[in-house]
């Protein structure tokens, strides 16, 4: 069994236990070991990079140091955490000057970034350690009547030079993993465009206008649901539909579901075990199509 240090981040334990529950259940069932380490902190995402990039790199590197000490690669659920940690990890591995600069900061906390570990998003773990064929064999439910609009979020893919996850303009890994569950991943307009989530709190009106585009485009394409990876995209699109209703007087009710939840359902895990009541938009339309 391959084991990873599970990096939870802030938003998932704070607001979306259903993501954590489904990810833990599904990954464990597929033979992935998850280890919870003490002393992980915030990943240092874009809001902190905006304040001070150097501090952010040091915070990200500190989290990676904890995994290095435990001799484990890191797996993240949140794409924001993936971006922050993978970017720092790869940047520091590639740039020795920057590594020395960050290590000077880390020495105050008794740490040294060595660059011996990988930071992986859990989709990559599914691809590498389970594989599409084995994944298909583990699916016990029929999802073939489900049409999904996949939305990976920006930070699974970009900046591609540092994240090296998939082709930034023509990605396929996420869609392959959806289709391995038997569901149909459909095309929709501006599929790879941002959800606007990171502007929430600074310019809510702009963020909502961008989110609305995503909701309109996925609805027009006839999707039964939107499948997400990032807790921020989830919030922006799920809770966002409540805000769209009050601001634009438009009602869409398109369910938003994390891939880990869809995976859990496909593997036959009882929906009652998945804390699905944390969704603002009810999942009935999705659950009814899973036989």
């Amino acid at each position: 069994m391959t084991s990873y240090a599970l990096f939870l981040g802030c938003t998932i334990p704070a607001r979306q236990p259903q993501y954590e529950v489904s990810a833990r259940k599904a990954l464990t069932r597929l033979g992935i070991g998850l280890v919870d380490l003490d002393n992980m902190t915030c990943c240092a995402p874009p809001p902190l990079q905006s304040i001070d990039t150097e501090t952010s790199l040091a915070i990200a590197a500190h989290n990676i140091c904890l995994a290095e000490e435990a001799d484990l690669d890191i797996v993240t659920l949140c794409t924001g955490c993936f971006e922050s940690l993978a970017m720092a990890n790869n940047l520091l591995k590639e740039n020795s000057k920057l590594k020395a600069r960050v290590n000077k900061i880390l020495s105050n906390a008794g740490k040294e970034f060595k660059g011996t570990k990988e930071v992986k998003h859990y989709l990559k773990v599914l691809m590498d350690d389970v594989g599409l064929e084995r994944l298909k064999k583990n699916v016990v439910k029929d999802l073939s009547s489900l049409k999904v609009a996949s939305f990976s979020g920006c930070h699974l893919l970009r900046p591609s030079a540092l994240l090296k996850f998939d082709d930034p303009e023509r990605p396929h890994i996420f869609d392959d993993l959806i289709e391995a569950l038997g569901a149909k991943s459909i095309w929709y307009r501006n599929k790879l465009k941002c959800c606007g989530g990171l502007l929430r709190g600074y310019a809510d009106d702009v963020a909502l206008a961008i989110a609305r585009d995503k909701i309109v485009n996925t609805t027009k394409a006839g999707a039964d649901c939107i499948v997400t990876l990032c807790p921020f995209c989830f919030l922006t699109l799920d809770l966002g539909q409540m805000l769209i209703k009050s601001t634009y007087k438009e009602e869409y009710n398109i369910p938003v579901i994390h891939y880990a939840e869809l995976l859990s359902l496909a593997l036959g895990i009882d929906p009652k075990e998945l804390a699905l009541d944390f969704h603002k938009i009810r999942l009935d339309k999705v659950l009814n199509k899973i036989a």
């Binding site: 704070a14 304040i51 040091a58 920006c154 970009r158 900046p159 941002c194």
Partner: protein
């Protein structure tokens, strides 16, 4: 002539300042083609932000206008522009560099003071609600591990993050 020289000096000074920031190194490569603006999800919905304009004003040395602007806070960090820039200007990273300079000069939007407070007090920028934390056993989730606040505080002191003049009223 004198005026022209002064203008050139202020242009060069601000460009140098951006280039010396982490992320700002590539700013001067911009030739204003506008690929960034046409790839930008924010510029699609509002006139308040246009990445090409931010870069142009920066290269023209309009330091105060750029740093006190609403625009630099409207990038959604999606990196579309950076992927597509034919000159390999790391535009999203340049925006981070501009934000870093703006923060140092006291232009701090309220929400960023809140992020900083969350980080400094709890080690997380999104505070964990007691309600959800109490429910973890009910969902079969293990107890949440403590955040490494001691190490974090040492890092924030070493970089001077804890000395930034956070304020209640943000300059926008």
């Amino acid at each position: 002539m004198e005026h022209e020289k002064e203008r050139k000096t202020s242009e060069a000074a601000f460009t140098d300042e951006i280039r010396s920031q982490l992320g700002g190194e590539t700013v001067a490569l911009c030739y204003q083609c506008g690929t960034c603006a046409s790839s930008c999800p924010v510029a699609r919905v509002t006139e308040r932000y246009n990445p090409r304009d931010v870069i142009r004003l920066s290269l023209l040395g309009q330091k105060q206008e750029v740093l006190s602007s609403d625009a630099i806070w409207l990038c959604s960090s999606c990196y579309n522009c950076q992927e597509r820039c034919p000159q390999k200007v790391e535009i999203a990273d340049v925006i981070y560099a501009l934000r870093n300079i703006a923060i140092k000069e006291g232009h701090i939007p309220n929400i960023y003071s809140e992020f900083a407070a969350g980080l400094m007090n709890e080690g997380r920028i999104v505070p964990i609600s007691k309600f959800v934390e109490k429910k973890r056993p009910e969902y079969g989730l293990p107890p949440l591990r403590p955040a490494g606040l001691d190490a974090l505080k040492k890092i924030l002191t070493a970089t001077g993050f804890d000395k930034i003049q956070w304020k209640k009223e943000g300059a926008q």
